[in-house]
Symmetry: C2
């Protein structure tokens, strides 16, 4: 059982990262209006959020700019059009995917950019490229975190090796990522212990990025807080791929640091979330996501089921349980 | 950190209680069709659920029979019309509220009734009447559990005294009830330790009944399983008052006992849940329930907000935060 003080008191090391534009962008092709993005920036400022992730640095050779909103590419000019010089305590992050980002050219020196944090996302078999991206971003002056995705299908021994390689890199934060929303709080505790051992050895911080397939995104995030994880991802109204993420309104309600304030989050949700839903974005817990989470599968079949407007849950369960 | 075996293996002592008709009945005035109730009974049989709660034994002097469906009153004849003599492994439960049940007259001897379990629900200031109801039900031959409601606003020392009185009664199970959906898993662990100490002393079992105001009903239930709690309440699609309950489909997916099977639950949900929603029943996680949960308040204001179709969440937050 954890210490009472962890609920009543707070750790000043906690950082809250708003991932709404990035993970949420996956359900609307990043088609956020400038008004939405500016209002989100202001809500983050007022609610004491530490980092705001603007989206991906996607390679324009691979992705057609006409098919996505600007948060898919996160040009410095676009971010500057929202935040100006961002002379605030709110830092700006972007995600760079291994294999989908022309990082050497598209990520400029931090001195020329409004961005503060590069979040490198990698699968476990891509670690050497991730390290190259981390080194590149560090050399350019950024804070750098690294998400190893889909760890619920990886062996613990492989994760250890990957973390050991990352430990020797200049990355600042290891992220625990439950891509399939398949992990239970007990498993988070065990994974945080594994990550924490290697993080301590190399002086790194830990982060948590959760999905809500089994309605555990918030529960797993607060489990992680109790296990020494400091960097916490959340999105407004849980907006994110498939079942969505840990909801910002739940997380800020829970955290006791007086710098956080849930009220601006509620105001933003009331005013801006209905419009993205009305425009067709669909996310949130539903039975099909529970099923892929339960079976530790990628949610792509459940996302397709949702897109097709299917409601034959029992048939879907039979389809995915017979997949190998 | 809990034992790995608790996730991979299972405790045969676990009992799953389907509370759909009872807690779910609170959102549709118990107006379930016989077809719905029969299908639910069959789904519970097929999915290995241990107990099916049919509803309340409400006092007909206090509640007008014309204003509610039969599960509000749970006459033996009504239950028998669904389950016959119920020669199955699925046991039948009903809830009897202190002060709202004419238990001496309306609860008949078990030998004459299809009911197996009386679930006495009490507030902490009503314990002596609860004990009288427990003794009455035991004398009539029933298994008996006791829910102490709204413990998140009670002092631990008062809870200890209440449990000590109940410990001396012939009740079989103490239920931990998070009526306001305000408790976090760490708190459940602490409460389970407190309940467990007194339960061990008197040879009682522990149960968990959770609400989803902060999307923690399932998380708190599986936390409780890891803390030695054996009786677990769940409802199909989480149907229940306000934000609803721990979802049966999540719970049976989690439990590893091979006698449980989530597939009949999914089939039932697909076929029967849309009709109760179409008939106007509203339940499930929403921002107004998060807010009352966060502030450890009774959800009645959030239920009223929902009924009125209000969406002005920020105004609602201001209203409830200024209440004393």
């Amino acid at each position: 059982m954890k210490e009472l003080s962890k609920l009543m008191d707070y750790r000043p090391d906690i950082k809250v990262i708003d991932a709404t534009l990035r993970d949420g962008g996956l359900v609307n092709e990043f088609r956020f209006t400038d008004e939405f993005v500016k209002a989100l920036y202001n809500a983050n400022l007022r609610s004491g959020v530490d980092y705001m992730e603007f989206g991906y640095k996607a390679d324009k050779e691979m992705f057609d700019e006409s098919k996505f909103g600007p948060c898919k590419f996160c040009d410095d000019e676009y971010i500057r059009s929202i935040v100006g010089e961002n002379n605030t305590d709110l830092k700006i992050g972007v995600m760079a995917d291994v294999g989908r980002c022309n990082y050497k050219e598209d990520i400029h020196d931090r001195s020329e950019s409004p961005v503060d944090l590069i979040r490198v996302a990698t699968y476990i078999h891509q670690i050497p490229t991730a390290v190259d991206m981390i080194e590149d971003a560090k050399k350019k002056g950024y804070e750098v975190s690294c998400n190893i995705m889909a760890i619920s299908t990886a062996q613990e021994s492989d994760i250890s090796v990957a973390l050991d390689i990352l430990g020797k890199s200049p990355v600042d934060v290891f992220y625990i990522v439950d891509s399939f929303g398949s992990l239970y709080p007990e498993q988070i505790a065990r994974i945080a212990a594994l990550y924490g051992e290697i993080a301590d050895k190399y002086g790194k911080k830990l982060g948590m990025h959760a999905h809500d397939n089994q309605k555990l995104a918030f529960a797993n995030t607060i489990e992680a807080v109790g296990d020494g994880v400091d960097w916490l991802d959340a999105t407004y109204a849980g907006m994110g791929r498939g079942a969505g993420n840990c909801a910002m309104e739940l997380l800020l309600g829970f955290l006791k640091n007086p710098k956080y304030n849930v009220y601006p989050v509620i105001q933003f949700i009331e005013k801006y979330i209905p419009e993205v839903r009305a425009a067709g974005a669909v996310w949130g817990y539903d039975f099909q996501y529970l099923m892929t989470g339960l079976l530790n599968q990628h949610p792509r079949t459940a996302i397709e089921f949702t897109k097709q407007g299917r409601k034959d849950y029992a048939e879907f369960y039979k389809e995915i349980i017979s997949q190998e």
